[in-house]
């Protein structure tokens, strides 16, 4: 989780303890849900039933610091107690070690609203499942610094992985960039249920092992190739170590790709934004009938974000009471969980220092059904001044009220649940 975000969100629920994080540009979200069985003792909430369960977030580095040296922990610690002290605003992690030594770490936490990515693996058209080893071996052929990779279903049932090269002139393989492509046969996978010819492009970094990463400076820094050296456990390494098969769910370009790991006591989800591909041939209907062919590269975060918001809002529009993600049934208990306004509030927390520039992208939601994709965006040309970081891709409202932009958008979102666009 530390490889993705700087803050660790802890959410105790009835079905387990959920640890989540999101990256600064909101293009990657991960969660680990530990079932109560995983723990020796698990008490989720306060004594009053129906009381809202406390959620908090702590600084990732502080939390990691408690568990700094795994080998020595394994040797000395026989019990670890984690408890939340709301009144003292402290998350207490207590390590009971050998020889009667108890180390107590008090971490300051901030209460927060739910960090919930909007995605639905059931709605993904394609899925693949393979032992993590296969994917780890595949990924090794791509350079460590590689940002984006395209996963595709090719002819003959083969699955391909290809590094993504931004092509300005529209021709792949521009001089200067080496293109690497790997083909895996269908039978290397445990299950393959893909739409032929489908492709998605996502950022490889959060996924693999990358031991030499440069530390990111602040929550505000966009995802960049120079990220600080984090604990080198990418999801892939984790999967390999736990010997679990990895399932990849994806849909159309632009819709997020979801990687999941499942076992009896643990459910892991990693949701990554994908590039909307104007060449994919699946040109979605656009607002005002205008056909836009935005170039994927620079503004892909923007595209995805609007798209995701549209998707989410349209989901609400349909009045589907089904929570967006079947594996995270834990929205706030109120029945109006699909109420976008509530989502909005929840998201306020996330948007510390939201860039006021984000609004224009949200506005574009009107008139779109779920197939917004990139094409639908009546987007002004990517504004270089808008830092992509505060683009929430899977979240509801991203904007703090009070900034000039949000107002119109909030209105739009509010209309969703009743109206048509």
């Amino acid at each position: 989780l530390s490889r993705i975000g700087d803050e660790l969100y802890l959410e105790p629920t009835e079905s387990g303890l959920s640890l989540r994080t999101v990256n600064s540009s909101r293009s990657a979200f991960a969660s680990f849900l530990f079932a109560p069985l995983f723990f020796q003792l698990y008490e989720a909430g306060g004594p009053q039933p129906g009381r809202e369960l406390l959620r908090c977030k702590v600084v990732m580095k502080s939390f990691l610091g408690v568990f700094r040296s795994l080998p020595s922990l394994e040797k000395t610690v026989w019990k670890c107690l984690i408890l939340l002290k709301p009144r003292a605003s402290r998350l207490v992690v207590q390590l009971h070690c050998k020889y009667g030594v108890t180390k107590t770490h008090n971490l300051a936490f901030q209460e927060c609203e739910q960090l919930q990515a909007v995605f639905d693996t059931q709605r993904c058209a394609s899925s693949l499942c393979a032992p993590a080893r296969v994917l780890a071996e595949a990924v090794v052929h791509f350079p460590q610094t590689l940002a984006e990779v395209t996963l595709g279903a090719g002819p003959g049932g083969k699955i391909s992985l290809r590094n993504y090269v931004e092509d300005e002139a529209g021709e792949p393989g521009r001089a200067g960039t080496m293109v690497t492509e790997l083909w895996l046969a269908e039978d290397e996978f445990q299950t393959v249920a893909v739409t032929p010819g489908s492709r998605i492009t996502f950022c490889l970094k959060e996924f693999r092992v990358s031991p030499a990463r440069v530390p990111s400076s602040s929550l505000g820094s966009p995802l960049s190739p120079s990220q600080p050296p984090r604990c080198p456990q990418g999801l892939l390494t984790f999967a390999e170590a736990s010997n679990l098969p990895l399932t990849i769910h994806y849909d159309m370009p632009g819709r997020p790709v979801v990687f999941t790991l499942d076992d009896a006591v643990l459910e892991v989800h990693l949701v990554l934004a994908t590039l909307s591909d104007p060449e994919s041939g699946l040109q979605p209907p656009t607002a005002n009938g205008a056909a836009h062919l935005p170039t994927p590269s620079d503004d892909f975060a923007d595209d995805l974000e609007s798209y995701m918001i549209a998707m989410e809002t349209s989901a609400y529009e349909e009045g589907s009471g089904v929570p967006p993600s079947p594996t995270f049934p834990l929205h706030t208990p109120c029945p109006a969980e699909s109420d976008p306004e509530e989502e909005e509030e929840e998201e306020e927390e996330e948007e510390e220092g939201a860039v006021p520039g984000t609004p224009p992208h949200k506005k574009v939601l009107d008139g779109h059904g779920r197939c917004l994709g990139v094409g639908g965006q009546a987007q002004p040309p990517p504004d270089p001044h808008l830092s992509p970081q505060f683009r929430s891709l899977f979240f509801g409202s991203v904007l703090t009220p009070g900034t000039p932009g949000p107002a119109p958008t909030q209105e739009v979102l509010a209309e969703d649940s009743d109206g048509e666009y």
């Binding site: 595949a138 090794v140 052929h141 350079p143 021709e171 792949p172 393989g173 521009r174 001089a175 200067g176 960039t177 080496m178 293109v179 690497t180 492509e181 790997l182 083909w183 895996l184 046969a185 269908e186 039978d187 290397e188």
Partner: protein, 284 residues
Amino acid sequence: MRFRAKIVDLACLNHFSRVINTIAKLAKTCTLRLTVSKLYFILADKVANGGVSLWCELCQENFFDEFQMEGVAAEHNEIYLELVPENLSRALKTAQSAKAVKIKLTNKHCPCLRVAVELPSISSSSRIVTHDIPVGVIPRRLWNDFREPSVPDFDVSIYLPVLKTMKSVVERMKNLSNSIVIEANLSGEMNLKIETDLVSVTTHFKDLGNPPWALEDGCQSSAQDRDLESMAEARIDIKKLQQLLAGQQVNPTKALCNIVSKRIVHFILLHEDVSLQYFIPALA
């Protein structure tokens, strides 16, 4: 213009990878010259390179199981390509357990050297990884820029000390100074010297031996009449020397250098099937 080659033997692949790794350490971009029997990696001595030049020659038979080449024209049955050796090095890096590696010159959207690695896999069909390395085709009119450099009229020729030792000495010296003086004489003695305001360090090597150069008319006469004890020296950029030494992954069969006093140092590293020549000019 066509080129296809295939390596099936792992040892050959390994060896080839090592050569490429060495080249990659010495040059960011270089020229690959393909002939029917040989491959050459060439770096011409342009100002941009800092005046260094590189000439590396391999016999293709020693590496490739299949090698087919058709040059630009019948009378000029050669191909000159400009490429980034680091790309090739990366492509081969993860191919160390490959069943086969095929290299082919293609021109889909732009000229590329396509390296296709066939990897063993548990499934019925093997995994194939292809790397498309963009290359530039060098037109015939520029081929003259890439002629084999001639051995300079050197003052002293001497075998190098054990490269590993030399490398560690030079690496430490690199921290202290930007330039290093190599001096040697015909009695098998070589000194590596650095001198700064604060410190000067000299490492002495002796009993290195001087290679006997075959006498040709008029050649090596300057070396011939030389006083055996007198040192020929050149001050060169220490980083370039360090790069050369660091890039050597295997001990060469023969390693020697020719020094033209105050002008240039010519290094020759010979392995069984690869020869590498590297020229470092003296600093002003």
